[in-house]
Each structure stands twice: as C-alpha cells, then as structure tokens.
Symmetry: D5
Subunit: 163 residues, 10 copies
C-alpha cells in the first residue's frame, strides 16, 4: 500500500506549501524512510530535514539533488520550484495552534516564557537566545514510567546592541 501513499494537498499544512514539498512527503511515505534516514544522507539532523520538508528551511542544490535521488523524485522539477531562486516563507499553521502537539509548545511559552527569560537574563545579561542561529533536537529517552521526549534548543546568545 505505501507505494500509493498520498498527502491531502487541499488541507493544512500542505495547501500552504509548494507542490514539490508535497511530493517529497509522498515519496518519503512510499519509500518508507524516516526523516533521520534521509537526513543522514545529506549530513543533517532529522528536525532540520523535517523543517525543510515543511518549507521552513532551504536545501542547497546538492542537498536537494541527493534527497530527490533517495526518494525517486525528479530533481530538476524540485529545483525548478525550490532551487536557488526560492526562499522560505517561514511560519506555518494557525496561532494559537489547534493541534495538541504544537499547542503544548505554545503553552510552554505562555506558562514558562517569563521564567526562561528571567534565567537567561541572570546567566547572560540583556539579550536573547537566537532562533536563527539555533539547532533543535528531538530524542527519545527511555523511562520505565513511560518514555520521554527530550527536546533541545541550542541557540546563540545575542547581547543587545548599545549605540
């Protein structure tokens, strides 16, 4: 069956992505590959790769070709859409999020945002954690009481300019 996998391009979030992205998702499902397996082929992390699939990060031309080759997608066609002339239009889905997985991340901002801010200020001074120079990681941590998701943001501290 997976050889016929499709994604509903009329529904969120596929409706808001270039066609080539939907093709990548369909090919991935048909090949039965994980994000991690594809990501390794281009030396990237699975979260970054998933972000690129959702149009939130930009493949280099080489990466695009390698990914297309693995997935059996026409790379010229993909590059005609997502090549060097294309730039991500970042930000996907409604806010507040309606899906519970994404909402929980939003809830972390509502409930723990001020606490995280206060600890950052105490440890670093006046500045922010960059979400541009930031690496994100999702790990599965085994736990007898129920496995846990380990979600890590590793972002550069940027002090405020004073001029």
């Amino acid at each position: 069956m997976s050889s016929a996998a499709s994604v509903p391009i009329n529904t969120s979030p596929y409706a808001d992505l270039p066609q080539a992205n939907s093709a990548l998702f369909e090919a991935k499902a048909r090949k039965g590959l994980t994000f991690d397996e594809i990501a390794r082929a281009i030396g990237k992390d699975e979260v970054w790769l998933a972000a690129a699939f959702y149009g939130q990060a930009k493949f280099s031309e080489d990466e695009m070709r390698t990914v297309c080759k693995i997935l059996g997608v026409d790379s010229e066609w993909s590059l005609s859409q997502l090549g060097s002339h294309w730039w991500p239009n970042r930000g996907l889905g409604p806010m507040p999020p309606t899906d519970p997985v994404i909402y929980r991340l939003y809830e972390s901002v509502l409930v723990y945002g001020h606490a995280i801010k206060a600890v950052i200020h105490e440890k670093f001074g006046d500045g922010i954690m960059s979400m541009i120079d930031c690496k994100i990681n999702v790990e599965r941590k085994e736990d007898p009481k129920g496995d846990r998701v380990l979600l890590t943001f590793d972002g550069k501290f940027l002090p405020y300019a004073r001029w």
Copy 2:
C-alpha cells in the same frame, strides 16, 4: 542600592501577580541572590523556581517557608496569599509575545512546530509531549564564537487514548 530594590507593580507582568510574588522578586534583588541559589535551598531547579516566582507553579508550604526565610520575607503573610488554598492561574503575558526573548520561543513554534510534531510522531506514534509532566532546563554553554543557551524540555510522551 540593591537594599532598596523594587519592582514596578503597576506594570506587566507584576500587575497580574499576587502581591506576595512581587515581594519575593524585591527581596531576591535586595539580597542579591540568583534563582539558582534560592532553588538549591529547596532542592529545585532554577527554572521551576523562577516559574513559581511568576505565579506559574505552586510552592509547598515547606518550600514557601524556606524561601521566605532565605529572603527575609514574612512567611505567614506569603502563605496567607500563596498557601494551600491558592492555585496558580497559569499563562502570563500577551500572545503573541512582544518581548524579543519570549517572542523567539513563540517563533520556534511558528517555524519548527510542524517539524517537531512530525519527528515526535515518527519516533513515538500518535500522541504528544506532555507540558505538565515536563522538566525545563536552561544552561550556558561556552563557545568561542559566542556562548550559547541550551534550553531543554524533558516531557513525558502521552499516547492518545483509543476507546
């Protein structure tokens, strides 16, 4: 000077907190203690403690007494406000956040929310990362190109009920 530190109780977020919370912030500033120093005294993490200061987590009565003792705040008065009858009214500050530190967390949801969701599903199946049974940590990671903030969420995976 720090002996006279005050917090602007007419402004956000203090205006939305019980008076006792403002008193804790003022006392912390006057004593010159860090969240970490106070947190260790009650065996908690600094992020959790900061969340409790912002009214987003609940001290046990013993914890409240210890914290008050360290800070020189009247513990009976604090407990009259934040004692066993008080429950956090969680969620603080505007959404979307206007402060750049908190906004960057919000931006992570906008840009990487779908990617994180997809990787969680791939690794765990249909379910969510709990934000209730979740521990949050902020570390400073030295880096010659500029130190980095390491922000970790360690949350239990909860599979969807099927009934």
Copy 3:
C-alpha cells in the same frame, strides 16, 4: 495560617468579581471547608456551588444566608451585593484560556466538538444539548494506573423550533 488566608483581588479572576465573592473564597480557605461541605448545607452539588462562588450562578436569599453563616461572613453585606437585585454576568476569564486545566476543556471542543455534534444529531435529531438546563459533575475515579477525573454534563436536549 489558614485563618489569615486571602485571595489576590487585583488578579484574575478575582478582579472581575464582586467583593463579596472574594470574601467567600477567603472565608472558605480560613475555615478549611471544601466546596462539597458547603454545598451539602444547601442541598447543592459542589460544582454548582463553585460556580456560584465565581459569580457564575445565583444564590437564593436563603442559600446565601446559610452559606454566610457556615463561613462566618456577614450575610447582610453579602446580600447587599449578591441579593435579589444582582444577576450573574456570566463568562469568566480569557478565551482561548491560558490556564492548562481550562484549556484542556477548550481543546475538547476543538478536537471533539464535531464528533459530539454528529452523535447528538444521530441520537436526537436537529437540536442542541442545553447548557442552561444542564447539571455538571466532577468525580474522582480510582485507577491503579493513575486516578481519573470523571466530568459529566447532563443537559436537556432541545429540538430546533420549526415555524
């Protein structure tokens, strides 16, 4: 300590309630009574009583007097505010809710609203479940894998008028 319990009348939701309601919450905390214990005295359910404490339901004059007597609150003063001339201004707190307990109820509407609607239509026809003629109940159900909340809505079905 509980004899000095107070509620933070500058914060949500107390800031949006008549003073007498805050006094009821304070007195309840000082007396160490549960909603259920107070509710039994006037032959009501604890959820209804809690709703009345939050200004979302209306005590009869007799109920108000009995509740005040139990809690040691001046009943004439309470009735001067919440007597027969006062009518609930229903609806409390922000929407979407920011507190995770209340948000989960909201999430049930987002995720299961259409399913519940469809089953109601299938079982009853074109109409609604009344939220006016509706009784709500919260029970604790023991479970070795973790106790559960049993939340029940018992509302009259109202068929649409056809005229």
Copy 4:
C-alpha cells in the same frame, strides 16, 4: 435516495479534511449506518469513531480496512491517504464556534471552567485532567420532561512535574 448521498466538500468542515474522510461520510449515509454500528465492528466507541471520521483520531490499518469493507469504500485508496504515514492535524472549525451545538460546549468552558478547575484542584491537587488520555461518551437519557444528553469525559489526572 440515500444511495446517492453526498457531502458538500466545498464547505466547512469537509473542505478541511482529506478526501477519504468525505468518502467515509458519504458511504455511511448511503449505507444508512450509524456511528455506533460502524464503531462496534472495530470495538470502538461511537464518539471515537466520529472523531476519526472528522480526521481527529487515527485508524490503525486493520481498523481502516474493516471500516472500508463495511462501507464499501476502496480500502487501498483510503489507506493511501489515511495510512500509517498520515497523522491527524487536530482542531476543526472556527473558535468561538458558530454552530449552536458546539458553541454550548464552548459556553460550558466560559461559564463553568473556573468551577471545574477549582473542584479538580480540591480533589486531586495541582494538575490537570488529560484530554489526551481521555474517553468521551454521549448517551441518551430518557426523561418524561424531555430526554437528556449525558456527555461524559473520563480523563486521567496528571499532576504537575516539580523538578
């Protein structure tokens, strides 16, 4: 006539669902089956089944095949859309809801949210009722003054992590 039943795929909520979901609704109408009759075939509750029809829960592959068989829908086609590679994008319809049936549920959050929260805290302590590990049930309760809808949420209590 029912053999020609269709659903308006240009309108809410069908426009926001994969095509296969619309096909399930049409087939159900043409077969004249209730949610309950279909649900029993896969050992599930009717509310859960309706949620799956609305794209808010995920069929296992076996369940999908059984449901398709009962309804006379091509199961390979359905699985190509809703198979193991598809994950629900939960959250359906506008908020605040405009349909009176769903609005009444929303109104229960507005009017009784704080009361339910307070009783949960009193009976369980600081935590929430899970909407992930939650079973929902709709029953018709006969009543001479007008039948009633019995809507039950049976959700696990989750205490807040303290770390």
Copy 5:
C-alpha cells in the same frame, strides 16, 4: 431575463453553502417567487424558509420535495445533498458583520443587550430566552412617515438549572 438568474457561487455567502442551496436561490429568482409564497406551500414562515435556503435550518424530506417541485429543481439531487444525513452547520458570514442590514442587528446587541437582559431577568428570573425554541418574524408596518420593519423574536424562557 429572470429565467437566467444566477447567484455568484464564488462569493459570500454562497461559497459557504452546499451547491443545492445555490440552486434553490437561482430557481427562486427564475420563478419569480417570494420566500413567503414558497413557505406557504410547506406551512412554514418566510423567515424560517429563508433560513433553510441559507443552510441554517433543515428541511424534512417532504418539505424538500415540495419546495423542489415548486421551483423545478431535481429533488433527488437536492436530497442527495441536504437529505436526512445532512445537518446544518449553523453560523453564516463574518462577525462583526460588514453588511449594514446585518450590522444593525449586531448593533442592537451592543447597545441594547444589557437592557434586554435586565428586563428579562426582572420579568422571568435567572435564565435566558432560547434561540433554539424561537420563532422569528418580519412584518412590514405601514407608516405615513416611512414604513417600518417589525422584527419579532418569540423564544421560550429557560430557567437556569440549579443542581
């Protein structure tokens, strides 16, 4: 000309309705019938009929057949869309309304909502006027200074449950 009347199905509110509803509007225009003339044929009021045309009320199968016959619309086709398996998805158009006719009704809620609530409470006690068991009527009242619209809501009073 009216024999060629059409409605713009790409625009509001037709874009949010099943196709069959648009067909009813077109047929009505082509036949040159009023809502009242059609409504009488099925023993209903013109406002209720107009609501059904806008997908806000549900025809019985017999009513649908009669209406289709009068209008020369294929009743099997209409029933395939709006038959017993279809339930109104009530709520149509933006809020606040942008059209002045509908905005004026909205304005009545803004300006006179509290006054109407207060008089209802004074005359009936704690409860609401049902919008489910409610009949609505629009009459033209001649007046030398300019004719007037007489808009009447006749809704059942529902007292709040106390449990």
Copy 6:
C-alpha cells in the same frame, strides 16, 4: 436588606459607566422598583429606561429629575454627570458576548442574519431597518409549555441613497 443594596462598581458593566448610573441601579434595588414602574413615571418603555440606566440612552433634564425624585437620588449630582453636556458612549460589554442571555441575541445574528436581510430586501427593497429610529419591546407571553419572551424591534426602513 434591599435598603443596603449595592452594585459592584469594579466589575463589568458598572466599571464602564458614570458613577451616577451605578447610583441609579443601587437606588432602584433599594426602593424595590421595577424598570417598568420607573419608566411609566416619565412615559417611557421599560427597555428604553433600562438602556438609559446602562448609559445607552440619554435622559432629558426633566426625565432625569423625575427619575431621581422617585429613586431618592440627588438630581443635581446626577445632572452634573448626565446632564445636557453628556452624550452616551454607546456600545457596552464584550463581543462576542460571554453572558448566555446576550449571546443568544448575538447567535440570532449569526444564524438568522442573512434570512432576515433577505426578507427585508424582498419586502422593502434595497435598504436597512434603522437601529436609531427603532423601538424595542420585551413582553412575557404565557404558555402552558413554558412562558415565552416576546422581543420586538420596530424600526424604520431606510432606503439607500442613490445619487
């Protein structure tokens, strides 16, 4: 008790009204008078009077004096606030309304707004029902199956200018 009646001036809607309006509400409660009884004294309808109490309509100086006399309120003080220099700032309470009584009126706009508009156009042509030159009435209609609220809007039809 009613001689001590008060209204909670820190809460909605009193917090949004001039002090004199709160005084009128308190005096009305203390005197035990209905809106209708007060309205008759100045030859007005009870709904209009209630609107004036809520700051949504303007008393003439004579009306203000008469109302103050009946209620035992200092008329000079009331006129210093609500006299000829004061003009209503119309529009009271949140939208969408959270109170179920007022929400039901709002729901009538959502569900029946287009139907009412269509019937008005059919009976009058292109124009609106004025909400400025409009009289509103609330009657109690006895009914063995439960009394009903009869809410009537009697508004002038205004044709659109064509220039």
Copy 7:
C-alpha cells in the same frame, strides 16, 4: 493595448465580487472611459457608480442596461447576475485596511471620530449622521502648493428614537 485590459480575478477585491463586476471593470478599461463618463449616462455621481462597480450599490435594471450598452457588455448576462434578485453584500476588503489610500480614511475615524461625534451632538443633539441616506463626493481642488482632494459626505441626521 487597453483593448486587452483584464483584472486579476484571483486577487482582492475582485475575488470577492460577482464575475459580472469584473467584466464591467475590464470593459471600462478597454473603452478607456472614466467613472464620471459612465455615471453621467445614467444620471448618477461617479462615486456612486464606482461603488456599484465594486458591488456596494445596486443598479436598477435600466441603469444596468445603459451601462452595459456603453461598455459593450452583454446586458442579459449581467442582469442574470446583478438583476433584481441580487442584493449587495456590502463591506469590502480587510479591516484595518492595508492599502494606504483606504487606511487614511480609517485613520480619520481613529483620530477625528470623537471630535466629529462631539460637534454633531452639539449641532444636532442625540443622533447620528446616516450612512444609508448619504451622498459622497470626490472633487479635485487645484492648489499651487499641491492639488487637494475634497471628499464630502452629505448624510441625513437621524435623531435617536425615544419610546
């Protein structure tokens, strides 16, 4: 070139208008006529005509025929869409407006709305300037320092009903 003029029917505001309106805009561009030239042919003002082109006013059948004749558009086809059965669905474009021309009008409400209201009350008493019985005019006024736009609203004063 103008003989091939087209309007982008997939974009705002054309996407929200009946097809016939787009055809009128295209024909006007191809003929190279101004709003004023077309308006004179039916004895109307150019602003009113432009409003009708944007679906915000209603042509009589005769006017429609004359306009179609001038523009070389099939009048039967236009009337099949915009004939006597069609009523404007007034209100076009986002609010707040994003286009600077329209935003400046919006800004006039934000900045001068209260001043205009106050002067109207002072000159006319309690009431409004009708936007239904209102004529709007745009003139070019030469000025050596830069020509000026003279925008005039001529609306009937409507006193509030008192009943």
Copy 8:
C-alpha cells in the same frame, strides 16, 4: 446646574486622556460654550478644537493660554501637562467603533473605501489623500425632509515616491 458639570474620568474616552483634557471638557460644560465659540477665539475650526480637546491635536502655548482664560482653567497647570513637551498620542477609542455615530464613519470605509480610492486614482494618479495635511469640517445643512450633516475632508494629494 451646568456650573457643576463633570465628566466621568473613569470611563472611555476620558480615562485615556490627560487630566487637563477632562478639565477642559468640564469647564466648557460649566461655561455653556460651544466648540465653535471657543475655536473662534483662537482662529481655529470647531472640529480642530474638538480634536485638541480629545488629545488628538496640539495647542500652541498661546492657544492653550487663550482657551484656559476663556474657560477659567489654570493655564499654568494645563501647560504643565499639555505644553511644548507633550505630543498627542493619536488614536482614540475601540476599533471597530461601538458607538453608532463613529461606527457610521467606519462603515463608510467598509462600503465606500474602494470606490473613493478608485476615483482618487482616476483623478490624481497613484497616490493618497493626506490625513496629515487635511482639514475637516462639519456643517448643518437645512433640509425640509430632515436636516443633513455635511462632513468635508480637504486633504492634500500626495503622489507616491518613485526612486
């Protein structure tokens, strides 16, 4: 009585203005002067003066002194608040407006905004009508069928820069 006139400084829009503005309104009411009478004394239009009273325009020091003298308000005190160091924080009241007078202006943008824009483009080219270099006027125009409000905006046309 007017000698005791006051304005409700806890309510909109006075709550959003400097105290000196409220004092100007009270003094104007006590003196029984119109906006026009005060405006003439400083050679300004009544609409501009009303805007300045509402904090939407800036008096010169001389104008402030003259206005204070006429109204019997302490000019030093007014200038301490509204002197050369104070700049208007323009924009007053909610959007969409709830008051019908101001809403009608807003409605003119909704309904006629595109038509006005189109006529301006046709007469002037690509640019806007300035709301900064704009003079606004309100006149009463007698009319046997009911007097009319003549509201005029006289704004400079600004062509778009092309660089």
Copy 9:
C-alpha cells in the same frame, strides 16, 4: 535548471498577486538577473523594483515594456494586467508577520516605535515621516565581525494641518 524556474502560485505571497507578477518572478529566476540589474535598466532602485514585482508599486507603461523586454515576458500581456487601468492594492502578507525577516521589521516598530516618534517630534515638531514620499534603500556593509544590513528610509516630514 534555472531555465525552468517557477514560483508556487498557490502559496503566499504569489497567490495574492496578479498572474503577471508571478511571471515576472519566474522570468527573473530563469534569466538569473538580480533586482538591481533590472532596476538599473529603468533607472530605479532595487527596493522599488522589488516592491513593484510584489504588486506594491506601479510601473509606468515604458518601464513595464523595458522590464518585459529584459526578462523575455510578453509586454502586451503584462500591460493587459498591470497597465494604466491597474492600481496597486497595497499591503501584502499577514500581520503580525510570521516570517522572521519581516517580523524583525515589525519588532522594530514594537520596541523602537515610541523612541523614533519622540526624536522626530523633537527635531521636527508635530507631524510625521511620510511613507508615501519615502525612498527605501538596502545596502550591504562589510564588517569583519559579520556583514551588516544598512536599511534606510528617507521620507519627507509632513507637519500636521492646523485649521
């Protein structure tokens, strides 16, 4: 590959632009030209040209022909859409912006808007910086610590009319 470049016309912002604009973007990518190279051909700045590509500025007929010639696009076809009869519908993309590049500009308004306003008032008096008569420039400034973006707005100061 670039000879096949395409833009995703189903996604933002292309979905909100006339087709001709998408064709310009595609042709630019296929030719491998920069905004600057195209802009020089018509004597304009690259930011202005990019704005025109996004439908936010208006080409003269000559400019359109030159640009089409350079890019190999049919100029008659482009002019049929974007010719003299077309006027920009300015304002593109959601607010608040979700893309981090555009959000940072928005953040500058949130954080530095009042400071910029205050300095403008101090240097120029009561008025605004025009965004109509404004030239915008983006330069790359080399810097050993990381190159910098130099973004300049050169806008005419407009003093407020006083009338």
Copy 10:
C-alpha cells in the same frame, strides 16, 4: 512653566512604564534638554536614549547615575527601580499602532516588507537582519521642497543555522 512639566501617568504609554521612567520624562521637560544632549553625556545615540526612557533599553548603573545627575533626579531611587535587577519588558503600545507617526513605520512593513526581504536574500542569502544587534538613527536632512527624515537601521546579518 517648563519647571512644572508633568506627564500623564494614567495614559499610554506612561501607564505601562515604571514610575522612574515618567520621572525621567518630566525632569527632561523641566530642564529643557533634548534626547541628544542627554545622550551625549553617556556617549550614546539619541534614539537609544529615547528607547531607554521608554523602558525599551537598559541603562548601566553608571549611565543611570549620570543621567539622573544631569536631570536632577534621585539616582538611588531610579536605581531601586531600574537597577541591575530590572530587565526591559520590551514591546510598547498597541498593534496595529493607532498613532500616525508609528503607523507609518508599520505601513512600511505591510507595503515594503516583502521587497526588503527579497533584496536581503539576494544580497546575503538565507538569513535575517538582526533587530538585536542593530543601531537605529534619525537625522534631519534639509531639502528645499520640505525637510526629510532619514531613518537608518544598521543591523547585523545573521545566516540561518543549518544543523
């Protein structure tokens, strides 16, 4: 008079700032100093200083003392509020802005945001202009046709992490 200058602390934006900030504004007005004059004393730009006055940037302790000395404000008192324990809560005023000066900046994002983004991508690649490491400048540029505001953002380019 300036010796008595005050700022309206009940109104926006002062109501959202610590008291010490209002005191700085008042002292500046009383001393008759410009932002530039104060900024020079601490070696900062006037825009940065104005941002600090509005609570959007953080003074070092030395800077605070110098500024207080110049302005004659008690530096210990200022530091008790804005000392090392205080961190800016950035983001001030409503969005969309209502004041025309700030709105024009917002409009630049609406109209030119995509163009600026596209040019940045073309010149720098995938990344953003930092608003944290950014210096902002406002200059007056003389021009015979009317002086101009030169507003410059000098922000570091940050390339997106790829991990």
